[in-house]
Symmetry: C2
Subunit: 399 residues, 2 copies
């Protein structure tokens, strides 16, 4: 006699971003230095206001906070969105365990087991894990490096809709491509949602990181769409506070927020200290963010210009987030990344990227791509791109 | 045209513990003082070692921690369980967002949509929310105030098993009854799990709070059961740190932990600061916990003795946790609780309890019961029980 786990449990995907970590660990144990461009962990300091709030907390009991979020945090969010011309009432906002929980909530609220959610790919790899948890199916639609990973037009999106389709996920600026969705692209999403009665789950955790004078477009900017947008946000990237685990779900749809409230009450609350600290960070944002955004733009330039100097590499000059989904002149990017870790270095230093196919759900796609996260300072980024260039030259001669 | 949320979203239950809060708010706005015995928020100070760890954190970036938990926290857990004669390797332990996330993970890992989980009732009301999130069904089995809410014998449990049954949840010491499961009762659970190939999800978040010389029994104490136990734990109650949101899932079953790892990687990590602080709290536990346990026992005595002095009240002398599920001499406990908030006070002070039927899934059960959480100091508890006694006398004359 024996027990066995659920089919759902068996189908949960392994993390595409973290799967090659054992190779990096091995490289380090062999004395190599590894420049990590594989994970979106910013090196930018968390705002001092955040730390001040943590250290000055003086209650003797670390008590439950309200399930919907502490008023100091919800007020800060409301004021922040108002500055983006997004009018949310306090009842439209619920604090979550980062963007992750907000996405899980959203998928459960829009979909029953077996329902479908359209997601343009490449997409943030953990969407697939959340979908499996909620037992909803992902309907991927491929976008292409050759036109900068633009969203597909309405006519193409429409073909994916079935009676089981419940929502489309849009993520702008995009992880892993860095692409900033234009108003025209978002209009196609709006048309799709309106004509086929879908929700739009809008992952905007990189909203602040946009360069080249481009503008962030949210589906919330389309008034006719407002009752069907579920906005997902997080302080992790904006305030370089990935270890805080604080984010939010926001919607003008009362049914959605009523269900989100029930999930929130079920799991009681999100961390008390970090909500207070997050509120302080939001209030300090006009001072904190401009140099951060400038720094990421400088890095984007270093990475993009560096990649242009490598023969056979294809990489759009994306205007947002801090990622670049890059096509490499190799047959199998994962094999190349493993080779870089196990068999290549320049003066004892090598580079780690994230294999690109982990950001696709369509089998056989993305195999020649890698995601580069520019989360290191300029000089190290230059060094990393140079090592990548050398590595590619050696690797292609080997084959 | 309009969008609608999922059936799952519509079926999510409202919080039974929090549903009467508007009446309490109204009472307060009318100048009444409310003694809250309705919610399990301890008033005991969080360990100083916890606060010291928070305040002395000196990194400039609040970074992601490992998805499985920081080694300082996992090491502390391992050492803690070893002191309970529970041998877990680091790979058997994953940090979670409190006990809540561990329970959600466990349900998703054992059950596919439509599968069933047996839960003796009354049970912690949020289990129902987690089951709905996972789209698994709860199979309740009633226990009885008259024999102290003992678990049903094997013959009765067996009748509930269907081809879709995947697990049984045991929670000892119990919320809401305070009942400490005996070795004999747990043996029935063990037999059930072995003979019908079920997992045992063991919610042990109140493990430390046991009085009267009784012993905690974990299903992990049954060697033949070790490959099918999923242990759920949390620092919230043990270290009076409900706002930390740190707990763990623990199992010797490698399939279970492999799936838990994938969920953990999907949502990235749990709060960094609180894991470090929790590790410090675990290391300070032998100094911190004994007076805390003693204090809860004193309170249990105050509540139980006080309730014995109220005609018609039925309440077992439970030996664990800090709750008492109490049968009141009224037809509808919820109506009585609302009446206490809206229409009764002693010198401007009234008492709030949690309606007992919210801890049952079987329709029509628990309606005469209320959960009392003894989370106030002795003098306030005495005052509260006295107000309850007076309230019941007046209420019964009104009817």
């Amino acid at each position: 006699m024996s027990v066995s786990i659920s089919r759902r449990g068996q189908l949960l995907p392994a993390s595409a971003i973290r799967k090659l970590i054992p190779y990096a660990d091995l490289a380090k144990s062999n004395g190599k230095k590894v420049l990590h461009l594989n994970i979106g962990q910013p090196d930018i300091p968390t705002p001092p206001a955040f730390w001040d709030a943590v250290r000055s907390y003086s209650e003797s009991v670390l008590a439950y906070s309200p399930s919907t979020g502490m008023s100091v945090f919800i007020d800060a969010l409301q004021e922040y969105y108002a500055a983006w011309n997004l009018e949310f009432a306090p009842a439209d906002l619920i604090a979550t365990f980062g963007g992750s929980e907000a996405l899980i909530m959203a998928m459960m609220i829009v979909g029953d087991p077996g329902d479908q959610i359209i997601i343009p790919e490449p997409f943030y790899t953990n969407y697939l894990c959340f979908a499996r948890m909620a037992a909803v199916d992902v309907t991927p639609v491929v976008t292409d490096v050759r036109d900068g990973y633009r969203l597909p037009p309405y006519e193409e999106l429409r073909k994916l809709v079935t009676p089981k389709t419940r929502a489309i996920i849009v993520n702008t600026p995009n992880n892993p491509t860095g692409h900033v969705v234009s108003r025209e692209e978002m209009a196609a999403v709006a048309k799709l949602a309106l004509e086929h009665d879908l929700f739009v789950i809008s992952d905007e955790v990189y909203r602040e990181f946009i360069f080249d004078g481009e503008q962030h477009v949210s589906p919330m900017d389309f008034p006719e769409l407002r009752d069907r947008v579920i906005l997902v946000d997080s302080i992790s990237k904006v305030f370089s506070s990935c270890g805080a685990r604080v984010g939010c779900i926001a919607s003008k749809n009362k049914q959605v927020m009523n269900s989100a409230l029930r999930i929130a009450q079920g799991r009681l609350c999100v961390p008390t200290l970090e909500q207070i600290a997050a509120a302080a960070a939001y209030r300090a944002r006009t001072e904190y963010l401009p140099p951060v955004v400038k720094e990421y733009q400088v890095r984007r330039d270093i990475v993009w210009e560096g990649l242009q100097g490598i023969s056979g590499v294809r990489c759009p000059r994306a205007s947002g987030a801090f990622y670049s989904q890059t096509e490499l002149p190799v047959d199998n990017a994962e094999k190349f990344i493993i080779w870089m870790l196990t068999s290549f270095d320049v003066d004892g230093v090598t580079v780690m990227l994230a294999p690109g196919d982990g950001f696709y759900a369509t089998p056989g796609t993305g195999g020649r791509e890698a995601r580069i996260a520019y989360v290191l300072e300029g000089p190290k980024l230059r060094q990393a791109i140079n090592i990548l260039k050398n590595g590619l030259e050696v690797y292609r001669e080997l084959l």
